[in-house]
């Protein structure tokens, strides 16, 4: 009896996690795939086969291609903006100084602010009526509904919410570069810039690489900023995949279409993480 109990123990320990994973990961995942080929009722329950009806619909809609294009451009912009700023901040604070701890804390703190809260704060800046920017510039621009500026409103807020996390990873990478190597470089006459390019970057490549994908994946999953700042507009020009999934499933009652989009999103994320693993083995320099 005792022995039997002992053999069952590890399974009992795993049980809750596997029940959770089964009911709230695997089941909805397969249900999403199934639903993309079906007609469903308002509760998402299966009714009849639809074949590739919704897939055809999706591929033939201009909005789908526009959203894909936007998502890719957006991901690149978010990456460049976040990475550039986070890199500068991390290089500035790599060397520990007396007041360094303060600036480090200031750079890192925005990580605590929720995306929804950030959007709310930035809305006060970019609002058309009574917004800070218009008031100070003396202009009357509707930043969030103007085709040229809406993209940048969403981008700037997303970059701001991403900088702190990226900064912390990069800082950990740069701090990991040993003092000996840095001193040797200084003795050999390398200035701050050469040191940064030739030594810090290659030595911190695992973290840099991680930040690269963190930002791209983060930009692709972006939902809150698009919803709160621009509602995906104007004319759908700032609609991210995530926001389109939400719109289709909740607003337009096209749950099956949202499932197709979800699968596209899954594939995009899956391919990206595969590339990440592959490149990590080939490109990253480990000490």
């Amino acid at each position: 009896m005792k022995k039997k109990k002992k053999r069952a123990l590890p399974y009992l320990l795993m049980l809750p996690t596997f029940v959770g994973a089964g009911v709230f990961s695997f089941y909805p995942f397969f249900k999403t795939i199934l639903s993309s080929f079906s007609f469903t009722d308002q509760f998402g329950a299966w009714q009849s086969w639809a074949g590739t009806t919704y897939w055809d619909m999706m591929f033939h809609e201009d909005s789908f291609w526009q959203i894909l294009k936007f998502t890719l451009v957006f991901a690149v912009v978010i990456f460049i903006g976040t990475f550039g700023i986070a890199m500068l901040l991390a290089l500035l604070t790599t060397k520990k100084t007396k007041l360094g701890k303060i600036s480090q804390m200031l750079y890192a703190l925005p990580i605590a602010i929720a995306h929804a809260t950030s959007s709310v704060i930035f809305l006060f800046v970019v609002k058309t009526d009574g917004g800070l920017l218009n008031s100070w510039l003396g202009t009357d621009i509707s930043w969030t509904t103007n085709k040229d500026t809406a993209f940048w409103v969403v981008a700037v807020v997303t970059i701001w919410t991403h900088i702190s996390g990226s900064f912390l990873y990069l800082l950990a990478g740069f701090r990991g570069v040993s003092d000996d190597i840095q001193e040797a470089a200084t003795v050999d006459g390398a200035n701050g810039f050469t040191k940064a390019i030739k030594i810090m970057l290659p030595m911190a490549s695992p973290q840099i690489f991680y930040v690269l994908f963190l930002n791209i994946l983060g930009a692709m999953k972006c939902f809150t900023q698009a919803k709160l700042l621009t509602s995906g507009g104007p004319a759908g020009s700032t609609t991210t995949i995530m926001y389109e999934i939400y719109l289709r499933a909740i607003r337009y009652g096209e749950y099956e279409y949202a499932c197709c989009l979800s699968i596209v999103m899954f594939l995009l994320l899956f391919i990206l993480t595969r590339i990440q693993f592959f490149c990590e083995k080939k490109l990253v320099f480990y000490q």
Binding site: A21, I113, M242, I245
Partner: protein, 269 residues
């Protein structure tokens, strides 16, 4: 040389203030009376500082209710996540059982399905189960956390085997060892994870938005976001400021530990 050092320090602090300027802006504007906020051109000033916006946030906004709902979410999800993932990590790090690698591979597969992809299907499930606008609907999908299993498994594997052997000799059973020795030994990692998890539940927006429709079931983030476009900017920013205090404090005091746990799990070295 000295001047250069001072200059660099000034630049650093200046950039730091730029980074947190949105937070400072919200904090200051939230103290300004309506007339000052609407003044044109807008002037950032605390001349007529007032608590009116903060008081209004609690009086007219159900901010208290939103906070209560958020804390119910945290109080239910956080301990559940910790317990389930610690137990599973214990199984994977301390036991040998048939098909262990298969079970492990299954967990790895779960990790490859991002939660965002499942969001609308999970919403339909909650709808079908009649759990819209209930605490069950808010919390049920967040009771387990596979990534935490990996995190804790890694930590538990680094606990010396001698500890387990010594406790067995002293007559310590499997579960007694888990609760009175292993969990205390892994305390640092558990606290780090708990803090991050706390903030991520506190800051969650999309899931509460999907599964709640009534105002009295809103959480902090959906509540604040619901007045994002209100013309009463002082009130909105006061709400944003109040609700940001807790995550800011957590990161302020726990920064070193959180960062260590965060970067340790991300990049192998």
């Amino acid at each position: 040389m000295k001047i250069k050092t001072v200059m660099l320090e000034v630049v650093r602090i200046f950039l730091g203030i730029c980074m947190i300027s949105p937070i400072l802006l919200a904090l200051i504007v939230a103290f300004m009376p309506k007339a000052d906020i609407l003044a044109s051109p807008f002037k950032l000033t605390l001349e007529n500082a007032t608590f009116a916006n903060y008081i209004e946030a609690f009086q007219y906004m159900n901010l208290g209710t939103y906070m209560k709902n958020t804390f119910v979410m945290i109080v239910v999800c956080l301990p559940a996540r910790l317990l389930t993932s610690l137990l599973a990590a214990y199984a994977f790090s301390h036991f040998e059982f048939p098909f262990k690698s298969v079970w492990f591979a299954i967990l790895l597969m779960v990790m490859m399905i991002p939660g965002e992809v499942l969001e609308v299907t999970l919403f339909k499930m909650i709808l079908k189960w009649n759990m819209i606008d209930t605490y069950a609907g808010l919390t049920i999908t967040g009771l387990t956390d596979v990534s935490a299993v990996f995190l804790f498994r890694q930590t538990m594997q680094s606990v010396p085997k001698e500890l387990r052997e010594a406790s067995t000799i002293d007559g310590c059973g499997d579960m007694k060892y888990f609760f009175s020795i292993l969990v205390p030994v892994c305390k640092t990692m558990i606290v780090t994870f708990a803090l991050r998890s706390f903030v991520s539940i506190y800051n969650s927006y999309m899931w509460p938005l999907l599964v709640t429709t009534k105002d009295e079931m809103r959480t902090i983030q959906t509540g604040v976001a619901s007045i994002a476009w209100s013309s009463h900017d002082g009130l909105t920013l006061a709400a944003a400021t109040i609700t940001s205090i807790i995550p800011l404090l957590i990161y302020f005091f726990g920064m070193d530990e959180i960062v260590e746990g965060m970067t340790a799990g991300a990049v192998k070295s």
